[in-house]
Symmetry: C2
Subunit: 202 residues, 2 copies
């Protein structure tokens, strides 16, 4: 099947959304935890978390344009300056997915989706207790993608909690052993099987 | 294991690179194909391809700061305005990984890594023949992440070639059936097993 520019334009909105959302390949499945200054927590699934650099340790994620839909995650990050990113595992993937429904600002997805909060003494944002790989970030930069008004939110890692940390032979986390989860499109979840760790080519 | 900000700073560079590169979870494994105005092709593996929007169909990827290492992909995109993104599959994952070695500007990774070029009549950049899911993009925007000088390169999809297009029940590509591949850290490759497709929650 070959679609040129005109044929891509002629796809129905539903066809286009599902195809374009899955055409980049696998996406990491993460929950982002935030809190407002009044103590109201929020939790939401994101498939757009991306590595931006290791030194400093910078991580990004994509937000749809402010104003298009409620943006409790965005508002809380701007209000407090902190948030957490938490890996999703198969045993709570369905609950994690439910955080993508619309909830009122005064309702916490932790309660609504039966997910447990975990706090560190000196870090305001809530972690996900069930997650075995999680980290806390300080907001550093918001960047607008002018062509469609989405935002890249950039944060620096300040705290790392690894309940398990199996490594591959190259020193990275073994995501099969970690039982981390990926997403394709909007609603499909995958687990991983490691096929190889190659040498760094010269 | 809990690392605070100071302990993260005290990691060796190698430990930090491998941990921070794998802490976002799974990353999609793609080859980006380009050509310069003289017809010299280039191919390079990227794990930072990200969905930015479906209408228009915008895809991004991250480049390290210009000047830090040779940037043939970047130079070619700026020179011609076009590039391709091609899914990696298990049967050529090792060859694809070899494109991350350093090659001279006048040497094509297609030849050096034994990967075949494929061209469309009206699109200048080379596709990967072995890839079953691939698309051609027009460059639209370059955005600097000020905190570490990396670049987000944004393109709009103009051509889509799907040699296979199995769908999940939600209408997206089934990445297990597609035999697409993911990366963790720098050198580890994974295949996928779909665990569930959930309803869109209300």
């Amino acid at each position: 099947m070959h679609l040129n520019s005109q044929q891509i334009d002629e796809l129905t909105l539903k066809e286009r959304i599902h195809l374009i959302n899955s055409i980049t390949g696998i996406k990491p499945a993460n929950l982002i935890g935030t809190v407002d200054n009044a103590g109201q927590t929020n939790l939401s699934v994101f498939s757009s978390v991306i590595h931006l650099g290791s030194n400093p340790a910078l991580i990004g994620f994509i937000l749809r344009p402010p104003g298009e839909v409620p943006r409790h995650t965005y508002e809380n990050i701007k209000e407090t300056g902190y948030y957490t990113i938490n890996h999703i595992h198969p045993d709570f993937a369905q609950q994690a997915h439910l955080t993508s429904a619309k909830y009122a600002k005064n309702e916490s997805e932790f309660d609504a989706c039966d997910i447990q909060e975990q706090f560190l003494d000196n870090f305001i944002a809530p972690f996900v207790k069930e997650s075995q790989i999680k980290y806390g970030l300080e907001f550093v930069e918001e960047i607008e993608i002018k062509h469609n008004q989405t935002r890249l939110i950039v944060g620096e890692i300040k705290e790392i909690i690894l309940d398990i940390h199996p490594q591959t032979t190259d020193g990275g986390l073994d995501l099969e052993a970690c039982q981390s989860v990926g997403i394709s499109g909007l609603n499909s979840y995958y687990k991983f099987k490691r096929i190889a760790t190659y040498e760094q080519p010269r």
